[in-house]
Symmetry: C2
Subunit: 260 residues, 2 copies
């Protein structure tokens, strides 16, 4: 277990990681920068790379025994008790367009379970910090998910219609048909919005560990629920589907609609 | 014709309308407000209504002979030489979710043609002002569309997949397949992004006059092109389809892909 003193130290340190990556990323925001395409045909920029390198450097200096799993460079020491899971820019497509919904995702795992997560959206100047057994904060203030009771009253959001599995896609379509409102677009900012009670259901697919690990403590600490599409807890080895909702009542309804 | 002195007066006044509507709208942003559904099943809030009433009051006081066409209340004096076309909150769904991409759209028409347009996004603190025969500004600074030459290099964006016409929907799908990147979501903020060269192609359907009139001077003054899906100029009586692009080269390619 991680003591309270140690945990407070990790929280301060994770905030420093977010501060420092913000500086790097915002230096390149809305500038004319080179964009490369990776082997999986997703884009990457110098801002992604430099942000990740800065975070890696800080972690390696402060906690040389900790592991690092991040999007742009090789994983290191994944057998460590503590592993940092980092997406230097989640929503690179938004970042490239100069749209503000991208963010940096930072998670700390202890024995493979996330105990700390940060969703840092520097262009919005909004940062959600989630810690195991504590209340999630937005810019330092406690924040919580909504208390909606039925999908009919819910606001649903997803980044795009990237559903690989037909049943999952149909389930999502059923949810948006039943929801009061839905919008598209949002990247990691959607999960911040969920954690602050602004929207109630977020559904996504084809995510990677660095896309979702930081979300878990943020959403759970705000009172929300996050699982895969089968209602399983999300782990490093999950299938990439994410169903995140404001509370257990809504979660059960959403999972049922997906697994009809 | 509108003299330069008169035009400068209108620009100052339109900025006051934007300032005052910002105050009203931001007072309700991310607050727990009541949402009603209109007869067309679209949502409306007290922020939409109060913002529009404030704008109407200011126009009626300053220019009692001018007409007003706006989303929430009855049109007045549409036979006037000058007509103000206003959407107090474009992107009400985003506004309701506490997402920042909504905005207030203000256009001034002279003999039914837009001579002045404002896209005001108060949650982003960004305002685009377009005036006939002048360069568009973003927060007071000149701004322009991109100089991309082929769709293959373009960034395409649309709010959602609200295409009524199948041919148009297929054309849009062809454009996003050929584009370098695309994202969903954005409301009127997309047209500001286009006018500042951040994205290159915006395609939408089912818009109303108050959704598109303000866009025209902004996009044209930034060097961009905006037409309906058949490449016709957009007027008060257009069909609601909008194809807005960075320049003539891109526009021709986009229109061709839609009308194959």
């Amino acid at each position: 277990m991680t003591s309270k003193i140690k945990m407070d130290e990790f929280i301060s340190f994770a905030n420093i990681l977010a501060d420092e990556s913000s500086k790097v990323v915002m230096k390149y925001f809305r500038q004319n920068i080179k964009i490369e395409n990776k082997v999986d045909d997703t884009p990457v920029t110098i801002a992604d790379k430099k942000s990740e390198l800065k975070i890696r450097e800080l972690i390696n200096n402060a906690y040389p025994s900790h592991g690092i799993l991040a999007e742009e460079f090789d994983n290191t020491k994944l057998k460590s008790e503590y592993i940092w899971v980092v997406d230097p820019i989640d929503g690179t497509r938004s970042f490239i367009a100069g749209h503000k919904d991208f963010g940096t995702l930072i998670a700390l795992l202890y024995k493979r379970k996330p105990i700390l997560g940060i969703i840092n959206c520097p262009a919005h100047d909004e940062r959600w910090v989630g810690v195991e057994n504590r209340i999630t904060t937005l810019n330092g203030k406690d924040t919580k998910t909504s208390s909606k009771k039925t999908i009919k009253d819910c606001y649903t959001i997803t980044t795009g219609l990237y559903f690989e599995n037909e049943k999952f896609r149909n389930g999502f379509n059923n949810i948006i048909k039943k929801s009061k409102y839905y919008i598209l677009g949002g990247d990691c900012y959607m999960y911040g919005m969920l954690s602050s009670g602004l929207v109630d259901i977020v559904v996504e697919d084809t995510l990677k560990a660095y896309d979702y690990m930081a979300l878990i403590p943020v959403i759970q600490g705000a009172g929300g629920i996050i699982t895969d599409k089968y209602n399983n807890s999300i782990t490093l080895d999950s299938d990439g589907s994410v169903v995140a909702t404001a509370n257990l009542l809504i979660h059960k309804q959403a999972i049922n609609m997906i697994n009809l």
